[in-house]
Symmetry: C2
Subunit: 390 residues, 2 copies
């Protein structure tokens, strides 16, 4: 059992209060730092973002907008309308501009899709990213498909197909790789599932972490974008926050059937992206930027692999297989996730995600994000210290 | 009649095409510049924004975020959730934080309110800002209340009350000052209207241009915020784009009954503001910033008054009374609004808003925004030149 001083117990109760106030998402480090100035947070391993991609974006931003003072135009003037920004992405994604919808982060797109297209029944795998069940309309029936610990939280394809055929939902959701465990379904299997489940009106695949996944050592990006040509019911949701390290900008996109996009645009979403998000998307489709991005992507993937392997060597922890930039970690020695997280925060300034509020997880779990190489090293050492000297 | 060369006629047809593609909003100057590089746009008098406020914001941004490199945190990390940003505004607005909802621009708030609260019938004054009728749900009945040229497009208060009592809508909308004509309803009259129309479920006042209005030469800000305490049915919508000169950031807020805000948050809008919008709202409530802002606000109001007076001296133009930062201008000599706008663009590089697509306006109208003092001077001279030497 980990032990805490009186002062530490007081901080613990304040963290619990803040976590409660933040609902099903944890308070971010700025909220923590403001409310608990006595904490020294050094490493935010709650935060699922490639720091090298942020570095790269900042290099371009500094050169192209700050040094030239063009930043003024981006802040002062209205950004382009949704369909104008969507058109920027068409060539790069090799899909018709009329199938692309841009959003102020994936979260706005999740909300738009669930509110406008899901009217009867949705099947959601558990554990999951909570907005998928929180944002459904009241009259929608939610069917949960539990991913099992014994399967390493991997989706059982055939039983999933049977469930969908039995329940006949109008919407299914796959997050690939899944949040919070990082479980990955390969592209061939995705295509097989789509082929078997053509009757589902809205087949949502959230690829917000797809740039961290790979199927072999070439680390080639595998995404389901091209399948939107064959499967009219496929909706792809993509956040740019994580793999491009720009969560503060709020940028995401979706690909869907033209008539679905039309319905959304008829209802609004006119100037939903900021000038900086528009700038990001213009940058994102440039060959020079993409070439440099793929270098930092592979560097980060390799470091993340190394990090997960190091975590797996720590006694009393089980690291579940992940092809995302975070790992779901189970604590096996009876220490609670809250206590372990608290000790990491107090003693090492490391903030990890306690998964106690994640429905569908039985046991003590934390989710740890891969950060920079040196930060990952500190995280591994801290866990080793705590778990060997409780 | 204005005459145009063959080349100019070709540009005219391209502008018509771009305008058509932009729907009921005009293409912004960046779209124009990209699609028609032969144009030299010098002054954007289509754009309803205080340029001195942009200067002020940029001074703070440079000092606080760029020079300190704190900009990285704003771009990399998730911004705070809706209710956390809303709480920043509570003291300044002197309303409960539980009544404040923040939006990615006023446009997102208009959409949210119309989709969630307007279910039967809405009364909209014409001319208006088009999203108020474009974003209503299909099943909602729209009743238009025409503002009349002979009344200078001012709202007739008693006949408005009669119309509302007769039609029994669940929603009414007042834009104050109104877009596109700048007509203003003073605060005492607003209170009288609210008192007479307590039965309307959603009484929306869009105060997106309110910082440009004034009731006497002290130029004191008069806004309806405090009335939300007395009138539970009042919803105030506020864009920060115009009076604070930051349209590219997408920042706005609304004040409404607690249970309405709860309903919105239950449906999403979790991280709908960017890191920069959060930074702006933190700045906005600081005394030092506000003091400097009120100086540039009054300077701009005074220059705008002077500008409108100068426009009114031009023969063959009628300038309608406005307490916003733009004036609705009618062309009386038979020249079309399109031709006048085209000539201004081609010969002087000045972009004005052609109001041909504004429903409820019969005649030839353009809307001209007040810009910097020197730009306003150029606009007046250009109009004089064109209309005296057609």
């Amino acid at each position: 059992m980990l032990t805490f001083s009186k002062e530490e117990a007081l901080i613990a109760s304040q963290i619990k209060k803040l976590t409660h106030e933040a609902g099903s998402h944890h308070p971010n480090i700025f909220t923590l730092a403001r409310e608990l100035p006595q904490l020294k947070i050094e490493i935010d391993a709650c935060f699922l973002s490639n720091p090298y991609a942020t570095d790269l974006f900042l290099t371009y931003l500094t050169r192209e907008l700050l040094d030239t003072h063009k930043i003024r135009d981006v802040l002062e003037f209205y950004p382009s309308q949704n369909q104008v920004i969507a058109a920027i992405l068409a060539d790069h994604l090799a899909v018709s501009k009329n199938k692309i919808f841009v959003g102020s982060g994936a979260i706005e797109i999740i909300q738009a899709i669930l509110h406008n297209f899901t009217s009867k029944k949705i099947i959601i795998n558990l554990p999951t990213f909570s907005p998928f069940y929180e944002f459904v309309k009241d009259e929608v029936n939610i069917v949960y498909n539990h991913l099992h610990k014994k399967d390493n939280f991997q989706l059982n394809i055939e039983s999933y197909i049977q469930l969908v055929e039995r329940e006949k939902p109008d919407t299914v959701v796959l997050i690939n790789p899944n949040n919070p465990n990082g479980g990955y379904i390969n592209l061939a299997t995705i295509e097989y599932l789509l082929d078997r489940l053509r009757g589902v009106e809205n087949f949502i695949i959230d690829e917000s972490f797809i740039h961290f996944a790979y199927e072999d050592e070439t680390y080639q990006l595998k995404r389901a974008v091209a399948l939107t040509k064959t499967f009219e019911n496929l909706l792809i949701i993509k956040s740019m926050s994580k793999d491009f390290g720009i969560a503060g900008i709020r940028a995401g996109y979706a690909i869907m059937a033209e008539e679905k996009r039309e319905r959304l645009l008829k209802n609004g979403y006119l100037w939903n992206l900021s000038g900086l998000a528009e700038y990001f998307f213009k940058l994102y489709v440039q060959d020079e930027f993409l070439k440099e991005y793929y270098e930092v992507r592979i560097r980060y993937i390799q470091e993340t692999k190394y990090f997960f392997a190091a975590l797996a060597t720590i006694p009393n922890l089980k690291v579940y297989p992940s092809l995302a930039n975070f790992a779901l970690v189970e604590i096996l020695d009876g220490t609670s996730a809250f206590d372990l997280g608290l000790k990491m925060l107090l003693k090492y300034g490391i903030y990890v995600r306690n998964c106690a509020d994640k429905i569908g997880l039985k046991g003590e779990f934390i989710r740890i994000a891969s950060r920079t190489k040196s930060e990952n090293k500190i995280i591994v050492q801290a866990l080793k210290d705590i778990l060997s000297n409780p």
